[in-house]
């Protein structure tokens, strides 16, 4: 067996190929994105692969492919599953023919997310099985199992790795890729695929009837298992399993939950053999609630009685602390440590030369501090550091929040920002709605031609597909006009003069105004070989006023009370206009 040092998501992608996957779809979202990014660069793929415009679209496409008998995987981050929840709930009724795996990657501690929701709750809600890996090797192995279970029970299977698995690495034993040989074939069966009330009531009953056998099979397949060692027991799931196993004292029973739904009878029998039980799991107390329902009078320790936290991610030291507090470890083996205090933070920041910074700067210059700036999800959320992001809730919600504020009677200007990918994801509906319902607002589409934050995935605006095939790019201008917007202007945000003028025009008008701030992502431009030269500050002219450093470009720093441009400069030249004394100019060629 071949072993490779792989990222969790790379191992998952490899397992898709070992499973003979025939259809791959998804929407990028950290920590899930690399699965498709790895699959889409395979040479001569035997599968269809796409970045879909959003998760609902991705899931519906994958579901239909699975109806046609092809093995399909659909990837997204946990909050993407909210967008896909509509087809998800009813896909449990219609079922599938080819295996369908829905990978929804959870993000405990919200490393790069807006919340800490738990995909396992969707599994419970939809009555779909859910596989929950504890490590990189298991994430790989579970993908193959997930396809098999999906086909055995004709149900989509949720697969829920977390950040600590998607972005962990390990030496992984791999199988051999199997090319997909299946061609999709749709068999008409309205009673299965047309969920009118008369059909859906029967389908719901069938879904419920599958549950007992499903619960038993997850145990038989070794996804849920235990070892009896003594009178007290720890039950763990996800990455918590590895932390517990590293600390588990002899004489303590251990149960691993790797799949849901849990067989209550099997769980109850284990629980009642013990005098006390500790549950270690991340996010919602899914396992703990199941244990409490069957444990009878056996005391259970977990989140519900305050031994563990609902929020955040587990770590080896937090697990040691919980085990000690609940009396499962005599002494915490890890001494407490204190990080050095008062060091300047180094948060992520918009790149040197990022055109979002220029757009935010111009917006604030024209609309001022008092205007309200709803924003959205992307690199540009970092505009919060520039005071140009007042709200962010979920994908596409900048325009809708903006129109809601504008139509609430709030008299101040509303200027919202949204990226091109996010606009195509769920922004268009909001724009149509804002025009239809008479909002007064300015929408700035920060158009960098790519889905940058998650790793530069192409979208319909890029003009290339996930597989690298050229395709006609969407015209954002035409989309906005067809939504009924009459003021649509496209500007290069590096052209600060033009940007300021167009924003001032928009400010003077009523209704919904759209400004498309269009410029290639600076990282993509650099990779494509764009070199604009560098800029420098004349120390004789510079007064050290600090206006340029407050602009926030990481290529500008203060040394000896004068500003200085470092080698990070990408040559966007926006700071030339920002400097009040004209001290910045193109560096003479060396």
């Amino acid at each position: 067996m071949e072993r490779q040092y792989l990222l969790g998501n790379e191992a998952i992608a490899h397992a898709c190929r070992e499973s003979g996957v025939g259809f791959v779809s998804g929407y990028p979202g950290t920590p899930s994105s690399e699965v498709i990014d790895v699959l889409r660069i395979q040479k001569d793929p035997s599968f269809h692969i796409e970045w879909s415009v959003n998760e609902k679209v991705a899931l519906e496409n994958a579901l239909a492919a699975a109806w046609c008998g092809v093995r399909a995987i659909c990837t997204m981050k946990h909050v993407g599953l909210n967008v896909a929840a509509d087809p998800l709930m009813t896909s449990a009724y219609t079922g599938v023919t080819g295996g369908l795996v829905i990978m929804s990657a959870d993000d405990p501690f919200a490393h790069s997310s807006q919340n800490e929701q738990d995909t396992r709750c969707y599994a419970h809600f939809s009555r779909l099985p859910c596989l929950d890996p504890a490590g990189v090797q298991e994430a790989h192995d579970m993908v193959r199992t997930a396809f098999e279970i999906s086909e055995e029970f004709s149900l989509p299977v949720l697969f829920r790795p977390t950040t600590r698995i998607c972005h962990s690495k390990g030496d992984v034993g791999l199988g051999t890729p199997v090319p997909n040989t299946k061609k999709g074939e749709f068999h008409k069966d309205p009673r299965q695929y047309v969920v009118i009330p008369a059909h859906t009531r029967i389908l719901h009953k069938k879904l419920n009837e599958k549950q007992p056998a499903l619960k038993k099979r997850l145990v038989e397949r070794g996804l849920n298992w235990f070892s009896l060692k003594g009178k007290i027991a720890i039950i763990a799931s996800g990455i918590g399993v590895s932390y517990v196993q590293e600390l588990l004292p002899p004489g303590v029973s251990f149960m691993k939950i790797g799949a849901y739904p849990i067989d209550e009878e099997w769980l109850g029998e284990f629980a009642r053999k013990h005098e006390k039980i500790l549950v270690i799991e991340e996010l919602a107390p899914v396992v703990e609630e199941a244990v409490r329902q069957v444990a009878g009078c056996v005391p259970v320790f977990g989140k519900i009685n305050g031994y563990a936290l609902y929020e955040g991610e587990l770590s080896p030291s937090s697990v040691a602390e919980i085990m000690t507090k609940a009396g499962f470890l005599e002494k915490n083996p890890f001494a407490p440590t204190e990080p050095v205090q008062n060091l300047p933070m180094r948060p992520p920041i918009l790149c040197a030369g990022c055109h979002h910074r220029a757009a935010f700067y111009a917006m604030k210059k024209v609309f001022g501090e008092s205007a309200i700036y709803p924003s959205d999800i992307g690199c540009y959320t970092l505009g919060i550091q520039l005071g140009a992001v007042d709200t962010t809730i979920c994908m596409g919600a900048s325009i809708t929040v903006g129109s809601g504020i504008a139509n609430s009677g709030e008299p101040r200007d509303v200027v919202c920002t949204i990226g091109d990918s996010t606009f195509l994801h769920t922004g268009i509906q909001g724009l149509m709605n804002a025009v239809y319902n008479g909002a007064d607002m300015t929408v700035v589409i920060l158009d960098n031609r790519i889905t940058a934050m998650t790793g530069h995935q192409p979208n319909p605006n890029t003009g290339v597909t996930a597989a690298g095939v050229e395709t006609p790019p969407v015209s954002l201008d035409a989309v906005c006009r067809s939504c009924g917007v009459t003021f649509v202007e496209t500007v290069d945000p590096y052209d600060l003069t033009g940007m300021l003028r167009v924003l001032a025009d928009a400010k003077a008008r009523k209704g919904v105004k759209v400004i498309i701030a269009k410029q290639m992502c600076v990282i993509v431009a650099r990779r494509a070989g764009v070199r604009r030269g560098m800029y420098a500050i004349n120390p004789e002219t510079c007064t050290g006023c600090g206006t340029c450093v407050r602009f926030g470009c990481p290529a500008i720093e203060i040394a000896d009370k004068k500003a200085r441009i470092t080698e990070l400069c990408s040559g966007c030249a926006v700071c030339v206009r920002v400097c009040p004394v004209g001290a910045i100019s193109r560096e003479a060629k060396k």
Partner: protein, 194 residues
């Protein structure tokens, strides 16, 4: 409890912590050893502070517990201090002398830290301080600073230097193999003395 050798690699997004991790992981594989690692991906990479955990001979989770790391590799002076609490008593620290001041130091009106104050904070760890930029430039590219630091630390890492060099040859772009191997050797030569 565990016999793994735990290395924390820290730096700033874009400095090549992930390549350093891949070299270590690949070297482990070639020696038939287990390895676990954890990395920072996504938005946090945009110039933010990043950390990569590597547990050589690790069989369990990928995360290193603060206060238990055997080795801390830092690609930036300030980041070494930020993560210094991860090092166990007597652990080894290999640190780039270079420091990139975070933009927050200018926009937030907190006085920026000086090299002297940071060096004073690191003194009790007896760090191996290395001018990685200079050595990398001598090797052919300042982009190879990560490999210079890895070379300097290689005396402490329980892997054969040959395994690390083979991993470098396998993982870096073909036209930069010589530069990177030279960077590793320059780092290794420097590391012998500290």
């Amino acid at each position: 409890m565990t016999k793994s050798y735990d290395i924390l690699i820290v730096g700033i997004g874009g400095q090549g912590t992930i390549l350093a991790s891949n070299i270590l992981g690949e070297a482990c594989l070639s020696e038939g050893r287990h390895v676990r690692g954890a990395e920072t991906h996504g938005m946090a990479q945009r110039g933010g502070s990043v950390e990569t955990h590597i547990r050589i001979d690790g069989d369990f989770g990928p995360l290193i517990v603060p206060g238990t790391a055997d080795l801390l590799l830092s690609f930036d002076l300030l980041e070494a201090l930020r993560y210094s609490h991860y090092l166990k008593t007597g652990g080894k620290m290999v640190v780039n002398r270079q420091m990139v001041l975070p933009t927050s130091a200018f926009t937030l009106k907190t006085p920026p830290p000086t090299v002297e104050t940071i060096l004073a904070g690191l003194e009790r760890f007896d760090p191996c301080l290395i001018d990685a930029e200079k050595l990398a430039a001598e090797a052919g590219s300042i982009l190879a600073q990560n490999v210079v630091i890895l070379g300097a630390a290689s005396w402490s890492i329980p892997l054969q230097a040959d395994s690390l060099i083979s991993a470098i040859r396998k993982l870096v772009p073909q036209k930069t193999v010589d530069t990177n191997v030279s960077a590793f050797e320059k780092g290794r030569a420097f590391g012998r003395t500290c």
